[in-house]
Assembly symmetry: C3
Homo-oligomer: 339 residues x 3
Amino acid sequence: MQFAGSHILSVDQFERADIERVFEVADRMEPYAQRRRITRVLEGAILGNMFFEPSTRTRVSFGCAFNLLGGEVRETTGIESSSLSKGESLYDTARVISGYSDIIAMRHPAAGSVAEFAAASRVPVVNGGDGPNEHPTQALLDLYTIRKEVEHSGRSIDGLRLAMIGDLRHGRTVHSLSKLLACFRNVSLTCISPGELRMPGAIVEFLRSAGHTVTETDNLEEAIGHVDIAYATRIQEERFSSPEEANRYRGRYRLNQAIYTRYCEPNTVIMHPLPRDSRAEANELDTDLNENPNLAIFRQTDNGVLVRMALFALVLDVAEQVADHETRVTWYTGKRFND
Amino acid sequence: MQFAGSHILSVDQFERADIERVFEVADRMEPYAQRRRITRVLEGAILGNMFFEPSTRTRVSFGCAFNLLGGEVRETTGIESSSLSKGESLYDTARVISGYSDIIAMRHPAAGSVAEFAAASRVPVVNGGDGPNEHPTQALLDLYTIRKEVEHSGRSIDGLRLAMIGDLRHGRTVHSLSKLLACFRNVSLTCISPGELRMPGAIVEFLRSAGHTVTETDNLEEAIGHVDIAYATRIQEERFSSPEEANRYRGRYRLNQAIYTRYCEPNTVIMHPLPRDSRAEANELDTDLNENPNLAIFRQTDNGVLVRMALFALVLDVAEQVADHETRVTWYTGKRFND
Amino acid sequence: MQFAGSHILSVDQFERADIERVFEVADRMEPYAQRRRITRVLEGAILGNMFFEPSTRTRVSFGCAFNLLGGEVRETTGIESSSLSKGESLYDTARVISGYSDIIAMRHPAAGSVAEFAAASRVPVVNGGDGPNEHPTQALLDLYTIRKEVEHSGRSIDGLRLAMIGDLRHGRTVHSLSKLLACFRNVSLTCISPGELRMPGAIVEFLRSAGHTVTETDNLEEAIGHVDIAYATRIQEERFSSPEEANRYRGRYRLNQAIYTRYCEPNTVIMHPLPRDSRAEANELDTDLNENPNLAIFRQTDNGVLVRMALFALVLDVAEQVADHETRVTWYTGKRFND
């Protein structure tokens, strides 16, 4: 694809070469994100960070990524203005807001809203999540993390063995990640979920028809024994048709250190899209995994900054100029990224 | 007037020469707003963008204007802190906040609040709207747009033929614009509204006593035939004394392409202060005008950035230094302002 | 203490030498805060200004302090994201957010939350107030103000005569300030409060055992006659066990110009942590003191910027490099700090 000036709306836009281009630029962003180097390549540029639905984590990640390239950020943090609620169309909002900034990152609760906005925008738009529909930067940062985590052991996305765990029926994250994985070769995907929350058949078929292997099971322990990555997501009890059905699975998808030690291969990497519910009753990753060096969940969010920097750099066509606008790091940066 | 260090609180502050000074500086801001050039003249300066009432559009426009001059923006997006609601006076708020920034843009729901705040502020304050009272930057950007739109056809504000349409009784926008127009010569103003929502008599008299022509009518089609500008505003059904009265006018002030084609001169420019209600039942500009090249509503909001840049530059006394602090534009700017 | 890379969580961290170091750096920040000089020493650095509880004043003060050193600010202004409310732990939030910025300023309604967050953070954290617990930058700016105010008359914190007035039982501010004062020598503290709202015995004992003099009284007029500083705080009627008890004290702690003139020494400095309730029924500083040159309440908030700049400079270890990154001030700065 042609990145310069393009909207980033959906994982469907990306072919393998595009993904690899993003990852290659993201790799080059690491010294800047780690404050070993500083660049001002986007000095004078403005990001419109338009979050019409709150999301502190994603909003701050986009904003920091732009600041790290030297640009400024103007933002909104909810449907504060009543313009949209007063009947203003997305067309009008887009025409106005796109006159203020050089690029826009946008989150909105309605599926399709970001694409509708982008169609009227005069500047490139990056989708930061449009309700249940798409969140392409999350899928890219997930895949980028997978690539970095497994390359330590000489593996790559081609030939990857991946388990997805939890609510695979409703999870936007796992659907988008599956589509990106399909661009690669020979992936073995194990879908671990309660029967009611299985991966949609269309996605399973899509992967199989692209030459990948998909296995489906409701048994966590049996299935996580031979994977490179265990990607956990939340199971919400209210998703089930009845409390009895939910109770059948209660606690069976809570991955903890004991289960990890007993069933997983030694270097299996644990991922999660976050936020994770750390309350005792939650059906998620247990906090006793926090000291496990293979828990990659915070490396995922760190990688999110790299991937968003890469997308900004590619869409604004400065990927090759980043190093030409360096200044010195003057302040204490400690051991922040060494842990 | 003396701009350097002054508050910008009301259209009443401006004489013709002041308006022309703002417009002349706004013209020079265009290459920066269009990212053909970058200036850092306000590098190190801080705007306090204090929006005690939400307004995404106006808040982001002020913030971008300051960023485009190289300055930083700190802001608030509502009465989030309960300080004002806990009985803190505007005097105290102003004394505190004005110690943090170099200039303040402020919106507040109460009429007179911005002037009261400014009286206690130690830095210049620009009124971003104080409830039903004043919104001087909107009036200035409207008049600036008028000037730019008609000069294509060799016309100017002197001798302008303008129609204002809709709720002329309650519209802060049309009242302020009328006052600015009065500073010029020989304007023909046609006020098109339901009888219940006529322009206040005091404003009509003010314009006439300044030598302008004012015509009042409730018939849209007859009145828009010979104007340079058709400035539409919203009619809200709940403004009428009875539903019957409102029903008399239902749909009669909805300007659309068919009416435009049939009744307007070929180059009549269509304006609106935005936001516009794009729902089918709204009594506003129809979306079928969106492809009409004379629809100037998004050029209005673009011009808002220029006018706010000009006011910041004048009040902070850097209007003549902008070009001395240029840096290179390094990124993709595409065809953003060519449509 | 070692400032570089440290969290600033509590006044208990500070010994006298540390306090004096902060004040010495704060003094050097004044030309930058007054826009007589500009520094870009933190250009490229990002402050995460995480206000999980709204506080416009403190949030903007932290943000401006960072901007004045040349850095960028990303922020949140409430628990907008439901992540924390959805069961995300402070540990997870800290691990994620600390990957985005170089330093974090944080406010949160729960006592202890900022320390818990800091324990998981990969970058230094400055406590901007954790509920009823700690607000160390307020205590430091208060003591810094005291030092500056009394040095005009050749006095210093050693030997200071200070009255604290109001709700001394619940006031986080007066407790923290007392602890800092205890690091100095020979302070005479007069605690003026209703009997029900007396200073906690532990703090009184702490001060006495450190060699200071503490007097307790419920009579404002008698006690403010011989002090260098009168530090007022709010009395909230709802704090009393009964309306009758509250009524006994109604109006007796409202300091106004008449009481000041009659009872205080000529140069007694009046302080208050703000916000102050300026409504007529409030038991606070009267607005008729606003023209009194010894009313230092707005110098306090100005000093807050200096103290926060000093802490940022010390923790990020750039205190000695500030002057090496200067640029010119180009804009109108008027008489802003001359009043």
